[in-house]
């Protein structure tokens, strides 16, 4: 029996995870649908946990304290940046990027709106990367046409106090 020689490249079997046949259930979609309705009246609705008082915005059906948030409370439209990043090519800290990620520069930040204890992610407009810092105050910027979409609340501008 000839000594076994080893190939570097052996056949590959093709396969998949047909995730299109999976479907998930979310109470949160129903809760956020109510919040999205309120967007049309330019209102932000968070859900307060009876167990520990935390306010989730956008709303969430369960809390880390194992309570089930059940009281709608209005959340302010000013907030604080808790974390951020920039997409697209840009010049920062003096380093000019010849080739960098495609797309025009965008500042994406996590915003904690006053009156809530959670973060939601927004694109910060009317600001340059150098101006952004954790703790920066921002103001929600509604789109011209508010259709009650989740990304109606995805834009903010620096707060002029």
């Amino acid at each position: 029996m000839a000594e076994m020689e080893y190939k570097k490249e052996t056949r590959s079997v093709e396969g998949s995870w047909p995730m299109e046949h999976w479907s998930w259930k979310f109470e949160s979609i129903a809760l956020i649908a109510k919040a999205r309705e309120a967007f049309k009246e330019k209102k932000l609705l968070g859900l307060k946990c009876p167990g520990c008082g935390l306010v989730y915005f956008p709303p969430k059906p369960y809390c880390r304290c194992t309570g089930e948030p059940d009281e709608w409370v209005e959340v302010k439209q000013q907030g604080t940046i808790t974390t951020y990043t920039f997409t697209g090519a840009w010049a920062y800290e003096g380093i000019k990027e010849e080739e960098g990620p495609a797309g025009e520069p965008m500042i994406i930040c996590g915003v904690n709106f006053d009156g809530s204890d959670t973060l939601t992610v927004c694109i910060l407009e009317e600001a340059k990367p150098e101006e952004v810092f954790v703790g920066m105050r921002v103001q929600l910027k509604w789109p011209e046409k508010i259709e009650g979409r989740l990304d109606d609340i995805a834009h903010a501008v620096p707060l002029k106090e």
Partner: protein, 153 residues
């Protein structure tokens, strides 16, 4: 849900995304498929305890020895178990009726110590029945080159 909240029917969401994979079969299965290309059944043999694996395995699990010995097995084998299938699993994971029943058998090739799961032609089957392997070197998917078995007569 809390008193102030009633959800009614819980909403659902899904996504038309299917991650794909490409599993390298390794040198033992690659040699198995090379053999089938020439109409041969190559099985790995354990130098430690003599167990013969078909499909071949790099390591004999019984004595944890690398199986670098090979044996070519005859086309005949014995049905260890079988099932008459009335359904198959559809792409969505649910059962679909088969147009007519087909037999799936676990066959131990003469000289092998492990089994191959494959279709058994001819409709009637019994445990201990003698069968012959059907090899299709031109199978569309190489995993089906060992196409199945038919009664040995």
């Amino acid at each position: 849900m809390g008193p102030g909240i009633e959800i009614g029917q819980v909403p659902r969401a899904s996504l038309p995304i299917n991650p794909t994979f490409q599993w390298s079969v390794g040198n033992w299965m690659d040699r198995f498929y090379d053999g089938l290309k020439e109409g041969k059944l190559w099985a790995s043999k354990c130098p430690g305890c003599g167990r013969v694996h078909l499909p071949p395995r790099m390591v004999c699990e019984r004595c944890f020895t690398k199986c670098e010995e090979w044996v070519e097995l005859p086309e005949t084998g014995t049905v260890q178990s079988y099932t008459v299938a009335h359904v198959k699993v559809g792409a969505n994971g649910e059962f679909e009726e088969l147009p007519q029943p087909e037999v799936i058998a676990l066959v131990k090739q003469d000289g092998a110590d492990t089994c191959v799961a494959a279709r058994l032609e001819g409709g009637n089957a019994s445990v201990g029945m003698k069968v012959k392997v059907v090899i299709d070197p031109e199978a569309e998917n190489f995993v089906n080159m060992l196409a199945g078995y038919r009664p040995a007569e």
